[in-house]
């Protein structure tokens, strides 16, 4: 693409080959060749499945028989489907409570890990380690941690006089249990926050300190605004990941049936999977996928718009 830039002062499309010299054309071809693997991958593995799933969403899909076109029927049925709304509300719970909590915990961990203390890098490794444990393995591990009889969490709670809940079989506690699990594997977010914290200019912090600002004031008035673009990034990626919440829920309720207990862990993607791959209602599942796509798109755009108020970009 360098050729494009070199030929004109601004981007021109379609490129006007006749005006280009030999070298520029060669550059363009080379650029296109380098782009080709990604382009083919995108067309075959992303765009094509997206377009076909959009078509399926307006039909009843049969894998070995022709599609039955039903127009908006799948979408209309979804709006009347109680489980659709329940799965959406379960997912919104994770998005609305789990994501902010995880962000808060990651930020606090990052602030602590940014303190100049001896063994700092060891602490950083310890906090990052859980995030490289495969999700399935960490979920199974947490099934033991949350075990009401022999789990370490309830043992700790008991030692301070709290009667721990039935994390796995009480619908009021299953989602908080999953959020705890999510917080444990938040190393990636911590690392991103850490990099942001290291970019906070020490001159500002020192100036504030000289002016008499205490630790909390420096954190609230300097550090948090300075890392706000990082917060926005973590928030958007966190929200997108939470809307697609699947693996942990699948493993968590796997022994008892998806959604256990009382469909409290029936998240949007789990219900989508159930419809598409268990009930063989691929058209219905495709409609769900498109609704999810639109929900995520709207949320992301809203966050970007609202973020202008709380995000500070130096310079």
């Amino acid at each position: 693409m360098q050729g494009l830039r070199m030929s004109e002062s601004k981007w021109v499309w379609p490129p006007k080959f006749p005006k280009w010299g030999y070298r520029k054309r060669a550059n363009f071809r080379t650029g296109m060749l380098f782009l080709l693997p990604w382009t083919i991958g995108f067309l075959v593995f992303t765009l094509y499945p997206m377009v076909t799933s959009l078509i399926y969403s307006f039909s009843i899909y049969h894998s070995r028989q022709p599609l039955e076109w039903v127009g908006l029927q799948n979408y209309a049925d979804l709006l009347k489907d109680d489980l659709f709304w329940q799965s959406l509300s379960n997912t919104v719970y994770i998005v609305g409570i789990g994501v902010p909590l995880t962000l808060l915990v990651s930020f606090l961990c990052a602030v602590l890990l940014n303190l100049k203390v001896s063994g700092q890098s060891i602490y950083r490794v310890i906090y990052f380690l859980p995030s490289i444990v495969p999700t399935v393995a960490s979920t199974i591990l947490w099934l033991w941690i949350l075990n009401p009889q022999v789990g370490i969490l309830n043992s700790i709670l008991e030692s301070i006089g709290i009667d721990g809940p039935n994390w796995m079989s009480n619908p009021a506690w299953s989602k908080p249990g999953l959020i705890l699990l999510g917080m444990w594997g938040t190393g990636g977010t911590i690392v991103i926050y850490l990099s942001g914290l290291q970019d906070v200019p020490t001159t500002l912090l020192e100036a504030a300190e000289i002016d008499g600002a205490n630790w909390w004031q420096r954190l609230w008035h300097i550090t948090i605004p300075m890392v706000s673009p990082i917060t926005l990034f973590n928030l958007i990626t966190g929200v997108i990941a939470a809307f697609q919440y699947f693996t942990q829920a699948y493993v968590f309720s796997g022994f008892q049936g998806l959604g256990y207990p009382l469909n409290s862990t029936l998240f949007y993607s789990v219900y989508l999977y159930q419809n598409g791959f268990l009930y063989l209602k691929m058209g219905y599942a495709s409609a769900m996928a498109w609704i999810l796509f639109i929900i995520i798109l709207i949320c992301t755009l809203l966050l970007l718009k609202v973020s202008a108020r709380f995000t500070y970009y130096a310079g």
């Binding site: 033991w144 079989s169 009382l262 159930q274 791959f277 063989l280």
Partner: protein
């Protein structure tokens, strides 16, 4: 320089395409490879043993058979819809077979039964029934399962009960359960007398004991809110609500996935009675994990006012299908016929301690020499042995029923209105699916 690079790149690309094309021609002119049949089995505690079994087919026919066992659930549907499905697929249960048939993913086996010379009269009736849809046979049972009551004799003795006498009625079972349920000094439950859904939901057995099922016998009507359904849920509910459902669940959910370990609550004195299948009496479960366990097995008892329902049990289990996309249907049919032969059924299911589906195979002494296993063999021959009824909406309905089950049994809800809702939602779905 860049131009040169581009030319070299293009040359490589052309050369590799040419080589690939030549490769194809070479392969095409070579002799066709020896036939390999692929068998996928959804379960598989011992994959090596299953492969060794199918190696016998290779020895007899020269046709190689590759067994994949266990196959992960998620791989089955893509394979069935793709261009390379297995030649024979063995599913853990018949729940999905009718949905698969509706989607055109599996064949009606009538042709394969004829061409493979499979003798349908050699099958026990109950397991074969689950494969029938009208006059079509969509699968063939290959070994099957039944459920009965297991009781821990040591716990019976400790509770002052005769360790050799299981409850005779469902009402007596509840009384025994009460005596066998123990709370510790702190008020927490320490052991449970009977857990109706230990492992998984056994409603099909209890509903049959109350004289019905959630489908009509021909599978064309939904009877989700019938009296036997209400009675079954109400009966199961008492084992939770009588002891504070939260307490029962705190204890039982702590058992985790101990099924295949010495920590299973039935061995560790945490649960005195429960319902389980015939395989537990074989070499791979109780004898392996807790050989010293003192336990008994008996047919699940009937309600006191219906003694004629004694020896009622529900047959459900492994079925074999031929995927519609299988390349060589004739070869699949022959392999299927070999799998169904009495000798192979006897060998496979003696080893795994599952019930044989072939009457001739059932004559093998290995099925009757273990007294506890014989309880299940007798149940299979009982006139009250029923088959599990499946429909094209089985899986979806089962999940929805599962929710009602949880609401009623685990949280004490009234079953009637919930079952009415279930009936209203799924009766039209069944009607639609059967069109």
């Amino acid at each position: 320089m860049k131009n040169k690079l581009f030319k070299i790149f293009a040359l490589f690309a052309m050369a590799s395409m040419l080589l690939a094309a030549c490769g194809g021609q070479v392969a095409a002119t070579q002799a066709p490879e020896a036939k390999v049949l692929r068998v996928w089995i959804q379960w598989g505690d011992n994959p090596q043993q299953i492969q060794t079994l199918f190696d016998k087919y290779t020895a007899e026919t020269g046709i190689k058979v590759e067994v994949t066992a266990p196959v992960e659930d998620d791989k089955i549907l893509p394979a069935m819809t793709g261009s390379e499905p297995p030649d024979v697929l063995v599913l853990s249960g018949g729940d999905l077979v009718k949905s698969y048939y509706r989607e055109g993913l599996v064949d009606d086996l009538s042709g394969a039964i004829q061409s493979g010379g499979i003798d349908l009269t050699d099958f026990f009736d109950a397991p074969l029934q689950q494969c029938k849809q009208g006059d079509k046979i969509l699968c063939l049972p290959w070994g099957t399962d039944m459920y009965a009551l297991f009781w821990n004799k040591d716990m019976f003795e400790a509770a002052g009960l005769d360790p050799n006498t299981p409850p005779k009625t469902m009402e007596e079972l509840a009384e025994f359960a009460d005596k066998l349920t123990v709370r510790g000094a702190d008020g927490n439950l320490e052991q449970i007398g009977f857990l109706p859904d230990q492992g998984w939901d056994h409603s099909e057995l209890y509903v049959r004991m109350f004289g019905g099922f959630w489908y009509s016998d021909d599978g064309t009507q939904l009877t989700a809110n019938s009296q036997p359904m209400i009675d079954s849920l109400t009966w199961q509910q008492q084992f939770y609500t009588n002891y504070n459902a939260d307490d029962v669940m705190a204890l039982s959910s702590g058992w985790g996935d101990a099924y295949m370990s010495a920590d299973y609550p039935f061995y560790t004195g945490k649960m005195a009675m429960y319902v389980d299948g015939e395989w537990m009496t074989g070499p791979n479960f109780i004898s392996a994990f807790k050989p010293e366990a003192s336990y008994g097995v008996a047919p699940f008892p009937p309600p006191a006012d219906h003694p004629e329902r004694a020896n009622t049990a529900v047959v459900q289990g492994t079925v074999a299908v031929i995927p519609a996309g299988a390349k060589d249907k004739d070869a699949s049919a022959k392999l299927l016929a070999w799998m169904m032969s009495p000798e192979i059924v006897a060998e496979e299911f003696c080893f795994n301690a599952n019930l044989p589906t072939s009457k001739k195979a059932a004559e093998d002494p290995c099925f009757t020499e273990n007294e506890k296993f014989k309880v299940f063999m007798d149940l299979m021959a009982s006139p009250n042995a029923k088959h599990i009824i499946t429909t094209p909406i089985s899986l979806e309905f089962n999940d929805a029923y599962g929710l009602v089950f949880e609401q009623v049994v685990h949280t004490g809800a009234d079953p009637k209105p919930l079952l009415d809702e279930l009936q209203a939602e799924f009766a039209p779905k069944l009607e639609e699916a059967l069109k």
